[in-house]
């Protein structure tokens, strides 16, 4: 029992160190990789353009629900005028960065973990190695750089659409004066909140994409399965761990920034 706990702790520490080293190597490789910009563009396409519909749809519905729920709660206290503050602060501080990151993990993170896993499985990564191509620089670095740019943008889009969603349900459907809604939004959100929002988004992007790359890239080291099973196990683990990481990191960042 105790021994098992010990070995578990050790493997956890080893895994974390290995992951940190992996990420660090990827960033270092940025300087030695040729035609990196083109690869970054590709990653931005996968994380940005491909995920845009899901971000917009989820953002819109989040705003709609917040507007609806918030209106009815605030209505009891006669303070519907605070609806804008409720919707905007929920979105900017928490829901925007977290939900956008979760959506991006689901769409882009799982895809890239599976892609890397298959490339590992079919020896494409080994082939890159024998060619002397920096595997980290070619496969991981562009995705990390892309994530650092794309996650804040996606979060901004998510929050923007969410605010309009709140306006739609609060003002258009429930009859709150639009001016009251928007002035409440503008009064509630401070520059610090927006900064926190983007900081969170960038951190989530970095952590989740690095995790997905790590598990896909190391699909061959999966101990519970081999071959196609290893790819699926790695992808699942990447997505689950990324989601947990988003929420855990959210708590840590919030407690530091508040």
């Amino acid at each position: 029992m105790v021994r098992k706990l010990g070995s578990l702790t050790l493997s956890l520490i080893r895994g974390t160190g290995d992951f940190a080293l992996f990420t660090l190597t990827a960033f270092r490789s940025a300087f030695s990789t040729r035609r990196l910009l083109h690869r970054v563009f590709r990653a931005m396409f996968e994380q940005g353009v491909r995920c845009l519909p899901v971000i917009l749809i989820v953002g819109m519905f989040t705003g709609l629900v917040l507007g609806l729920q918030g209106y009815h709660v605030l209505n009891r206290f006669g303070s519907e005028s605070l609806l804008g503050a409720l919707v905007s602060l929920s979105l900017v501080r928490e829901l925007g960065p977290v939900l956008a990151a979760l959506m991006l993990v689901g769409q882009a993170g799982s895809a890239l973990a599976a892609e890397l896993g298959i490339q590992r499985n079919s020896e494409q990564i080994a082939a890159l190695e024998t060619m002397g191509v920096s595997t980290h620089g070619y496969l991981v670095t562009p995705r990390l750089l892309g994530a650092l740019l794309i996650f804040p943008m996606q979060t901004a889009l998510f929050v923007s659409v969410g605010l309009w969603g709140g306006w739609l349900s609060g003002s258009m459907m429930l009859g709150l004066e639009p001016g009251v809604y928007w002035s409440s939004v503008e009064r509630a959100v401070e520059p610090d909140d927006v900064q926190e929002c983007f900081t969170k988004a960038a951190v989530f992007g970095l952590l989740t994409v690095a995790l997905c790359c790590y598990y896909g890239f190391n699909a061959h080291r999966c101990t519970s399965a081999t071959g196609a099973r290893a790819v699926s196990a790695s992808t699942t683990r990447a997505v689950v761990l990324s989601c947990i990481t988003v929420l855990a990191a959210d708590y840590v960042i919030t407690s530091f920034l508040l």
Partner: protein, 269 residues
Amino acid sequence: MSEARPSLLLDVRGVKKRYGTHEVLTGASLEVPRASVVTVLGRSGTGKSVFLKCLAGIERPDEGVIAFDGTPLDADLPSARAEFRRRCSFLFQSNALFDSLTALENVVLPLEQTTALSSSVVRQRSLEALQQLELDSFADKYPSQLSGGMQKRLALARAIVTRPELVLFDEPTAGLDPLRRNAVFAMIVKYQRQFGFTAVIVTHDVAEVLVISDHVALLDSGTMRFAGSPAAFSTSTDPVVCDFRDSTAALHKAVDALRTGQNPSLTES
């Protein structure tokens, strides 16, 4: 450590590799002279592929020295390893083509990523390589749209486009019919002559190998059982070599024995 032997492009000494408790290579050595075709024969599961992957640096040997062009490839010396990578290509048994890139992009990638050539030169050289392997009309096709033989040719095009001095072939004829097999071997020899690279081929096609090789080595239970010229291989009296070389004769014997009602085993003799 060892006396310099400049005629050898690759000098492998006592390579050991262990997976868990199973020791796959127990001290395999190989000498590869410059501009020659060296073949490593061996039964399936004797560690041929592992041996070749150790040479290519995909697997790290537990013990032993691999010297390329007089310089030992050491984990502590990444520059020597990088130099080796630049001058050596590896042809995977599975081809390991990038399946989401077109044939042309597959060939372009190593040049684009490892050289500072301009993109027009890269493109021209890649098209040349495709042309030489008669794949130029398939430049925009994806690997999955190509036949097995074409995929093999594409993998070879990708391997030679960087103009390597050493090309390692991991079972280049696995799963091919006899005619294709001959075609692949002929292709290897043709381009080996044309580009002057050194080839190390791992395979178990004895008959063809004896025709194309300058040197033959036989890997058995983790060590080199035999190393020498094809002629010496043909006349060797070593029992393992004989078994391997005369496998068809053994098959004859076994089938004959079955017909006469006895119950012998193929693998033991």
